[in-house]
Symmetry: D2
């Protein structure tokens, strides 16, 4: 199969680097265009970027030239129709609509449009049906372009663990306390003087994002297919930064709508395979075989030991135990720059490809939420 040409907005940042790492050997996509801010545009990638990942910068990308981060900076014939966006929120707010208006599928990791009513906020295992929202977007109607978003890095790992519980028992309320890695703040991000031997009990807007995004992710697509009614759950979040490189740990206390035994909960997680079989023969390349893995050892999950489960795309859950206030307590871990950012967007793109939304030829219908 010929690989689809894709572009990356914000290619030099930490999430941009993860996009390059994950896309450089992707079976469906090929990096054809990379862009960065004015400061870097026009430079070779390896001159503009301080590569910070533990695997080498792919040579084919190293020698690419960074384009300006606007559609008109590139001849239309060369601009890919699929754009992965790794931009700061304020910049995303300005630039992403330009690419959507230019006819691109903008698959965004930014928070700028996550809560916009006709923009899907999607984790494919959880709410792929919400992708139908794109058909309501003005850009889609005008140019066939659109914007799809993935959640905040904390919300993704959490919602994977919550989705099977919501489906099986219903969730009434939950308390979430996070211990988040420094890579979530980008580069240079958190100063070493602030985090060595320390904890920072504050991350700008993080608690708010987590509280609102989970509701939309677990919500229901209206019959009119033009908005999502948020799930009727209440979440209270405490977000902390700790001296961890990659991997967000989250402590959860949860109150369910129906009683559930420990065994039933473990079964709900073990049996959570929403993407199995939807694509006959071949799974989505970035989808983990087991989106939620339960680790039985008493002191797990741990970033150092469990981070790369499912190639960084699985949520690891552990320590399921009764809660004195709600029903159950557990701890989860998720890779914040793979599943929590670039990998999330990539999986969204793979799902869009499966649904024919990256073809601009056929018009395969979006599966209903039920089916997924």
């Amino acid at each position: 199969m010929e690989r689809r040409r894709v572009g990356i907005l914000g290619a030099t940042g930490m999430v941009g680097q993860r996009f390059i790492q994950l896309l450089s050997q992707h079976p469906w996509f090929e990096i054809a265009w990379i862009a960065a801010s004015d400061r870097s545009a026009g430079k070779r990638y390896d001159e503009a970027c301080r590569w910070k990942l533990e695997t080498p910068l792919p040579p084919s990308v190293a020698s690419m030239t960074l384009s300006p981060n606007v559609p008109e900076g590139t001849p239309a014939s060369e601009l890919p129709r699929i754009i992965f966006a790794a931009l700061d929120s304020a910049i995303a707010h300005e630039l992403e609509p330009k690419f959507a208006a230019a006819g691109c599928a903008v698959i965004s990791n930014s928070s700028a449009f996550r809560m916009t009513s006709d923009v899907p906020l999607v984790v494919p295992e959880v709410n792929a049906g919400h992708l139908a929202l794109i058909e309501q977007q003005a850009w889609r109607k005008a140019s066939t372009g659109y914007i799809v978003t993935n959640p905040n890095c904390c919300a993704i790992g959490l919602v994977l663990a919550l989705a099977p519980l919501e489906a099986t028992f219903g969730i009434e309320k939950l308390f979430v306390s996070t211990l988040q890695a420094v890579s979530g703040a980008g580069y240079p991000g958190v100063a070493s003087l602030d985090i060595l031997g320390n904890v920072i009990p504050f991350i700008q807007n993080e608690e708010e994002k987590l509280q609102e995004e989970v509701g939309k992710l677990l919500g229901t697509l209206a019959d009119t297919q033009d908005h999502v009614s948020p799930a009727a759950l209440t979440l209270s979040a405490h977000c902390n930064r700790v001296a961890v490189l990659d991997g967000h740990t989250e402590c959860v206390s949860i109150k369910l709508r129906q009683p559930a035994t420990r065994e039933q909960i473990l079964e709900a997680w073990a049996g959570f395979h929403p993407l199995r079989g939807i694509h006959e023969g071949q799974p989505l390349p970035s989808a983990p075989d087991q989106p939620v893995e339960y680790e039985d050892a008493i002191d797990r999950p741990q970033p150092r030991l469990d981070l790369m489960r499912g190639r960084g795309m699985s949520t690891t859950v552990g320590r399921l135990r009764p809660c004195t206030l709600f029903d159950w307590k557990f701890t989860l871990l998720s890779h914040n720059t793979i599943r929590g950012a670039a990998g999330a967007a990539l999986l969204n793109a793979e799902m869009l490809a499966l649904l024919g939304k990256l073809d601009w030829k056929t018009s395969s219908s979006i599966p209903s939420p039920r089916t997924l």
Copy 2:
């Protein structure tokens, strides 16, 4: 004033070292006897101990010889009547009663007897009145010896912040999620391979201790003065170990019995001075002037910046904000080996001295809980 002779059980461990650091220049107490396990007994302190504190080992203690950790290993005339105990729980369970039976005031940091009904579990600012329980102890009646305990390192910092809220508004329930320092596990304690760049979401028995000790601390001494009725609150705890040397951070969501505004809560903390004036002229040497300090900056408290407030004896609180589930959320920080261990025991001893319970001459009556 002549300083009282005191002894230290478990003098070579991390808490034992803090006892030595804090007692070496104490105005009321003088280190006259130190003891350790059989492996170390008979050795000079500086030969038996790997000193791990950032201030030098006091020379006067360095040259002292470690005694065996049983009363009969030391001539009765030389055994101090005041014994600070920094023992592991199982060993404390065996040894502390021997010293109480030998007529000593055992001021213990161990968990062994904290929940025993006639043993006071005390933080002087919170429940000094509970010290009256000692008069019910069989040891006290037989030999005038007794055991007094201080809480777990997490419970102390927390209960200081809770006490004025309980007194003013009443507390119905609370979630607590901790990010605890490695020094809490003693030496060698946590292996560096387990915590560098990592989080361990489990500390043996810690959640259980926190959940039960807070109830006793905020409880009411029965009129019979022989037990404490625990406070009617429910606490759910998540305890985590992080790569911090000293300082436990705790995220709290709290539901009060009566509504409280932000200002009222801040006032309750600012006005919390239970030990002011109880000892005319001279405060307890280890008591902080302000037991609960509120830090207004949005990203505080932090271990690196706030650890030593009140010479390590104050709890720093910050980020008071509404909770979507309960009433209020806040973050607190407390020094786990000063206020959370050795300093806690020392303050208990100072309170006992004030009450005449270290004199074995007069019989000053214990003040009622009301007064304190």
Copy 3:
């Protein structure tokens, strides 16, 4: 090709775990037997071992039963002839000869016999010819068993960088200052209280090992093939422990016997491919394609970014620059538990297999040092 059955002594320790990780999918070897001390013998591996690696414990090993760590504890027919040994030095001193006497090839990571005159201390790219020493060993003559060792974790990374310089220019003297990872001390090893935010400027016996092992590694096998004359170089080492998980960094100042330009040195490293072509068609499975990689960026090598070059088997060198005292200065990085321990032994085993020394059938002659 059928895979050879191998055993692992000390299978539960950190190096033992790396052996299991590296061997579990090895094309030539198959884990058939694992052993541990009396405390663990008889238990299932996953019950006896606290697995500390970032990849999962292979299920096939998890369910294996640990044998006693003596040859007579296992029926002779089941004891593999190839034994990887990951034992503490004192224990290795006692146990390794027993396995050699029992006819096994003991491929040891311990320091016990490294400097014994008829025991090869080998890094295949550097001095594979020294393997001829095994024919002098009394065990070899009596039972066909023998002992082969690999160097200390610091010496391996260093000697890879030195070997091409010694061959091309000669080395007269060098200073080496190390910044070593905590995994080098095993588990639990370095206490977190000792290394968080700290440096420990001392590692027991490390400077001595580094100083003497490099001489033997770069030495010349005597014509009598019964000992190695050490290279005539002088090394002065300063060894430090730092808060790094894996990866030893070494700062080197070197005085050569013949003048060398920067380009000549870079060429010597780039052209160092001693194992290319020795095994027609198929390289040694664990051998890196480029044993010494030079990284040009001014602030490299770094553990976080360069650790896994050559799948953890390459030494990364950087910052080649003139030295005011000697000729040149540079910095190198090597993975201390892969190339510096388990991977080193594994590569030794692969070389022994290539030389027919693991067959106990043919008697292929050992290639002379010249050839290698």
Copy 4:
């Protein structure tokens, strides 16, 4: 005694904060003026500064208003004659001469003028006599102002340990490898992504500074009193950044001009009290009683345990042992933002005060190098 009014240039940076911390209770000096760049000038200090020290921001400074960092921005009558400068080198190069020209004694921590021939580069215990150079400065002659500098943070700790060896035995050459704390890079400085679990083997210009400054510090003031002839020693430096908050560790191999036994070296350090007795009755307030402390334990000095010796003003030395290449090896530790920066400048100011160079009344003669 009335305290002299002083000002601080660059008051909001990390070194500026240390100046405030150390000066806020100084017996001789009083903070009367603080300045910062245009971005901060005009703001209250506590609004412009992110205070990063472990002790609270002194309230008296918190409410001060930051002046512009040029002399003409402040009425001449209010500008202090004593200016502590904590500026980046390029800015110092531009601004410090303006203050010297305005008649101020500029006591600078910057590298801008350290190697200028008529600018003293001074550590009072080592080469206070070099302060005579100020009389040659054009500023001094024109306006009575002048510039005095202290060395790079690595050079200070080192030169304290070297000075008694140079005086007693002579130093021919030395090799120095450093493990430097992140605070040396200011705030935000080193990104946490670059240093957590990592080592950076490069610090811009650091090796060069160390190599040249030591020569000037140990050099001889020419009879003409207009320049310093550098000491005839050769130094080769390797500088590394490690995950330590405060405290530079340095590994040293040294070749002396005359043979020295271990005891003689220890005596030279123990007997190094150059400032004792120079100021009858009252020592310089910031001078440590023992500038070089030797710690005998085999694994010391360590940042965590030895950092604050002499209130952060002493160099701790340990591990004196023979070197296979030179004569002796040892390890030293020095606080890089106290002794290595703000404390160094402060001690220079105290020495200048003692010499009458802060009076602008009397003209006490500078003592000759011999005397000091």
